[in-house]
């Protein structure tokens, strides 16, 4: 019995046809996957569904009734709730206030504060999310914020829930919580639209699947059991891809980066590690493990209280990003929206911002060289855009991520490259391309640190893996000893505590 | 005993040199008699209220005020009474709601219209002295209509000019956006360019700064100094600077009103009123003296300015 039906939806932006004639339908109580390359139009579809954007044409039916809502509020009332790709929380408000945003329990306009907090506590407990309702969202880590978003959708009695890459900054443990929740909602008959670039999740969760390509319907699979992984990739990317992580052996040189006893207010435990020339070191951990904090301290993005960083045996005491870059150490940050993209500026400028100092004699720009640089990365990473002059905010999430990566991959004179969640929201095709670029750079003698919450990725790409847990280095594995279960065990805090009390 | 006397002196534009001078002379009186003078700037009605309260709280017995707007009269009178303060006005005379002067409040000053008329008369006299044909002369009225005093002054000048036979249609309005020289300069430039055929110009306005702007405008479009007669009001340094320039400029003269009398005498009168219960005259009108390039030193000396 069809419950949600999307018919002939079209939507265009200047220069881009984001959706053309997309139709599919979902059964009651089903989880429907939505996949496609970056910029295929998934988020646009979700935005249309949420009432945030009005489609140029087409219609949406829920339970056989045509919906003609035009605002988020209307969509709400129709029982449609959406988690957007980029987090939509108010940092100044508490968790409870964020969860109730737009629908505070109130009498005559006066907020019932008690109910506000009480109901949230009980609901959070019930669904198994460990969050303090009175904590300010601004004090939470990215992962925790993502959980707030998820709680927001789950807490309401919705008929249709759409999740746009909800796990992109979650690690397996938090993802499990989400999967449990989805299973429960499903049992209640809620329709769930699920967008993800992670194939394992799609196979694990979804009943049916729609593939988009260039804003068009590429394929529709009413039964996920009938398709194979390879077939999906081929339909999505348009070609066979084979293994995404094509690890290649390299000969490693002497130690390049040496970090010892580093700590700061965000990471109170002093810790250190080293990376050799040509080595790719993976950092794995659950959210809140402190990986990003460690990298930011090394890079000088946050204030360091102690510790030493050497590159090729030379002490570099960078206390700000600029000094680090000059010393040959760069970091591609985790939170692209807050720390990465420069709003209002073109793709070209976003790529060239750091590396242009090498190609600008006396501070004068060489526009042609910058354009060539931009074109190279747009081409190689397949950034979907009408032009390199496009404002970066008009790109899809994954394409923004590619541009930010392009910024750091194009930097010259780099000795140590740290990438934090480099493939967050990036499609499989581009993932394997990024992987290739990292290998090329490593072969050129660069020391590379890859921070990721996606275990297959860390295992696929790294020569060595360091596991972090609760702000400490919990253990280390070389490639021949990679073992999924052991790595995961080490990352879990409670197990860890039991091991060394 | 004198040490217990505290007198407030409240003015509307504390940054203006004129009021600085008034304060300075009042201070001189305070030193001579040994009372305390409290200087407060109150650029709008609300600040005036606060200032009076403040004076009351400090235990002052009376105050002298130059109000930002004469219509504030009833409020000030009431507030002064509520704070049990003796009240005198200087420069601008309070009026009641119906526009009639409030007779009960002792006042020293000069009417804005009067002073404007004096400006007009001196310009007219100089036109005659230079033997110009009035119909060939243009007049720049640098106006700032937001300020009632400004309107009265320029209207006074126009009345006098017309009475002397100056053709009304030759008077052109140059509204300043602000009361500084640059604004007057820009406004006057437009007028000059609009009437490029007129070769001889006169200029008057709210104060010296306004007229200076007009004179600068004539210079920038190349009208020789001898073809310009500008007469300002105030006699502050910006006017004196003109007279100190090696060559005469179009700034012909300024009407110096004496801050000495306004500052020193009012303060003294107030002191007498408080200390010896000698009520001052209800109305003392002072007059301005025209200062020119060659006599400004003497005029200033006469008025008690160094």
């Amino acid at each position: 019995m069809t419950f949600l039906s999307v018919q002939n939806i079209s939507k265009s932006y200047p220069g881009v046809k984001a959706l053309s004639d997309v139709s599919f339908s979902v059964e009651k109580g089903a989880v429907h996957g939505l996949m496609g390359e970056n910029g295929a139009g998934k988020s646009t579809l979700i935005r249309v569904l949420s009432g945030d954007q009005n489609a140029d044409g087409g219609a949406i039916y829920i339970d056989g009734v045509k919906q003609d809502y035009t605002s988020v509020r209307d969509a709400f009332d129709a029982g449609v709730i959406v988690i957007h790709q980029e987090l939509q929380l108010v940092p100044e408000l508490t968790v409870a206030e964020n969860l109730w945003l737009g629908r505070y329990p109130s009498r005559a306009g006066v907020v019932d504060t008690k109910q506000l907090v009480a109901s949230v506590s009980s609901r959070l407990e019930e669904i198994g999310i460990d969050l303090d309702p009175n904590a300010k969202v601004s004090s939470l880590s990215l992962g925790a914020r993502q959980m707030v978003e998820i709680a927001k959708a789950v807490m309401m009695e919705a008929r249709v829930i759409a999740l746009d890459e909800p796990t992109s900054s979650l690690s397996s443990r938090e993802s499990e919580i989400l999967f449990d929740l989805i299973a429960r909602l499903k049992a209640k008959g809620t329709v769930i639209l699920y967008v993800s670039h992670r194939l394992e999740e799609i196979f694990h969760l979804c009943d049916s699947l729609t593939l988009l390509r260039d804003g068009r319907l590429a394929a529709h699979h009413p039964k996920i059991a009938d398709v194979s992984r390879e077939q999906i990739i081929a339909e999505m990317v348009g070609r066979e891809l084979g293994n995404i992580w094509r690890w290649r052996g390299r000969t490693l040189g002497p130690t390049r980066l040496e970090v010892s006893g580093i700590y700061g207010s965000t990471l109170p435990q002093p810790s250190g590690f080293s990376v050799r020339q040509g080595e790719i070191l993976g950092f794995f951990g659950l959210i809140g493990a402190g990986r990003s904090e460690m990298m930011r301290l090394i890079y000088g993005a946050d204030k360091r209280h102690g510790g030493k960083v050497t590159i090729d045996g030379v002490d570099v005491l960078p206390d700000n990003p600029r000094a680090s870059i000059n010393a040959g150490l760069v970091l591609c940050p985790e939170d692209r929206k807050h720390d990465g993209i420069i709003q209002g500026r073109s793709i070209e400028e976003n790529i060239a911002i750091s590396s242009r100092r090498h190609i600008s004699p006396f501070g004068l720009l060489q526009l042609r060289k910058e354009a060539a640089l931009a074109d190279r990365f747009i081409d190689r990473l397949k950034v979907r855009t009408p032009s390199r002059r496009q404002d970066i905010v008009n790109l899809s999430g994954g394409n923004q991520q590619k541009v930010i990566l392009g910024r750091w991959l194009s930097e010259q004179g780099v000795k140590v490259l740290i990438v934090d969640e480099p493939t967050r929201g990036v499609d499989v095709g581009a993932k394997s391309e990024i992987c290739d670029i990292l290998y090329e750079l490593a072969e050129g003698g660069m020391a590379i640190v890859v921070v990721s919450s996606e275990l297959p990725e860390v295992m696929g790409i790294s020569d060595r893996i360091i596991v972090m847990c609760e702000g400490r280095l919990a253990g280390e594995f070389t490639r021949d000893a990679f073992q999924e279960s052991e790595i995961l065990t080490l990352a879990l805090p409670d197990k860890n505590a039991a091991k060394n009390p | 005993y004198a040490a217990d006397v505290k007198i407030g002196f409240v003015v509307k534009q504390p940054e203006e040199p004129w009021f600085q001078d008034e304060w300075k002379f009042a201070q001189k009186a305070a030193e001579e008699k040994g009372f305390t003078l409290v200087e407060i700037g109150a650029p709008d009605g609300e600040k005036v209220q606060a200032a009076i309260d403040n004076l009351g709280a400090q235990g002052a017995q009376g105050f002298i005020i130059c109000v930002p707007d004469v219509k504030l009269g009833p409020g000030i009178v009431a507030k002064a009474a509520a704070n049990d303060l003796k009240l005198m006005t200087v420069d601008d005379r309070l009026v009641s709601a119906d526009g009639e002067p409030i007779e009960g409040v002792p006042h020293m000053g000069i009417s804005a219209i009067k002073i404007g008329e004096t400006v007009g008369e001196s310009i007219a006299a100089e036109i005659k002295a230079r033997g110009w044909d009035m119909s060939e002369v243009g007049a720049i009225r640098v106006s700032y209509d937001q300020l009632p005093t400004a309107v009265d002054r320029v209207e006074g000048a126009i009345t006098a000019l017309k009475a002397a036979g100056f053709p009304a249609e030759n008077i052109y309005d140059a509204p300043q956006a602000k009361t500084d020289t640059e604004a007057a300069l820009n406004a006057a430039t437009t007028v000059l360019n609009q009437h490029a055929d007129v070769k001889k110009w006169i200029a008057f306005g709210l104060n010296d700064e306004a007229v200076l702007g007009a004179v600068r405008a004539t210079e920038s479009v190349g009208i020789p100094a001898e073809n310009v007669i500008g007469v300002g009001i105030g006699g502050a340094d910006s006017a004196i600077n003109e007279f100190k320039k090696p060559n005469p400029t179009g700034f012909y003269g300024t009407l110096i009103i004496s801050p000495k009398r306004h500052g020193y005498e009012t303060a003294l009168n107030m002191y007498e009123w408080i200390a010896n219960d000698k009520e001052p005259e209800k109305l003392i009108l002072t007059s301005g003296s025209l200062a020119l390039r060659d006599n400004y030193v003497d005029v200033r000396k006469d008025l008690g300015i160094e």
């Binding site: 100044e92 | 403040n54 409020g75 009632p148």
Partner: protein, 314 residues
């Protein structure tokens, strides 16, 4: 030492500092702590205080209103003219309140519906409204016919003048509105993240219009009080009020980046501004130096506030 730091830099830091400063001023400045001076002081901040209530909402929602000074003058003017013309004070006040709300609503409408920057929109209305005030009055103050009008400001209740009561009442009302109502929470949400608020179903457009309309209405209240206190409607009144009010709010910890506001903070901010002015006059500080002192106080207060919030951030 450390606990002192904690108190100073804590959430109530500004209040503590204010209390200390108040105590010092009371002890050292003669005449400061007399009943008369305190009442005078409170009356002198009535306009700023009243307008700050709604400016707080405006800033909290990441907006900005430069037109408040003009609106205060304009509505005061209207109150007097309308009272004189209709012969009824009540009617005059009603017309003034309505026209204030209208000015605010127009601001809000332009800003919210056409998405024009609030700074520029209100800079424009600031001029337009001031122009209107000058036009209706022909640039001159308008006297009040019915002396009953003065009573608004002169009357007292329990020995305290009415305007102070009005200001106090508005502090309470808007404090409640900010912290306890859906309206207040939504305002903060819009300021914290307008996009998130919109996507959560908050009607951002109508909220903004309401906030500005409210601002206009409250400006009219301030305008009426002012006209009654100065016993006339003055077209040049309250120039520069916008910057004083915004300063007071920012002093009180309202973030110009939106999303952060507290009524107690704003009250303290307003009082700091008032006390600084009052003390400078009591101490007979020269006009030119008053500028410098005013600037330094402003700078010092935000610096302190900044130390506080950066300390709490880590």
């Amino acid at each position: 030492m450390n606990s002192l730091k904690k108190i100073l830099l804590g959430d109530q830091g500004l209040v503590v500092i204010f209390a200390v400063a108040f105590a010092i001023v009371s002890l050292t400045v003669p005449n400061f702590l007399s009943e008369r001076n305190i009442l005078g002081l409170l009356q002198s901040v009535v306009t700023i205080g009243i307008v700050a209530c709604t400016m707080m909402f405006c800033l909290a929602s990441r907006d900005f209103d430069l037109s408040v000074g003009s609106t205060v003058a304009f509505t005061g003017m209207i109150a007097v003219i309308a009272s004189n013309m209709t012969g009824s004070i009540i009617l005059g006040l009603a017309i003034a309140l309505a026209s204030g709300a209208l000015v605010g609503a127009v601001n809000g409408f332009v800003i919210a519906c056409f998405r024009i920057n609030a700074l520029i929109t209100t800079l424009a209305t600031m001029q337009i409204v001031r122009g209107l005030a000058l036009i209706v009055s022909d640039g001159r103050a308008v006297g009040i016919n019915d002396p009953g009008f003065y009573q608004l400001a002169l009357s007292r209740f329990l020995g305290i003048p009415t305007p102070i009561w009005v200001m106090g009442a508005l502090f309470v009302v808007f404090g409640f509105l900010l912290n306890r109502t859906v309206f207040g929470k939504n305002t903060l949400a819009i300021g914290g993240n307008p996009e998130a608020a919109r996507l959560a179903g908050v009607n951002v457009v109508s909220m903004r219009i309401w906030i500005f309309a409210l601002q206009g209405l409250i400006c009219a209240v301030a305008g009426i009080m002012l006209a009654s206190r100065i016993t006339s409607g003055q077209p040049n009144a309250a120039t520069g009020l916008e910057l004083s009010v915004i300063s007071a709010c920012v002093l009180g910890g309202v973030s110009l980046a939106g999303g952060r506001a507290a009524m107690t903070g704003v009250i303290v901010g307003v009082m700091i501004m008032g006390i600084a002015e009052n003390v400078m006059n009591l101490l007979n500080i020269q006009a030119f130096y008053q500028y410098v002192v005013r600037g330094l106080i402003l700078l010092g207060a935000v610096l302190l506030d900044n130390l506080r919030s950066s300390a709490s951030r880590r």
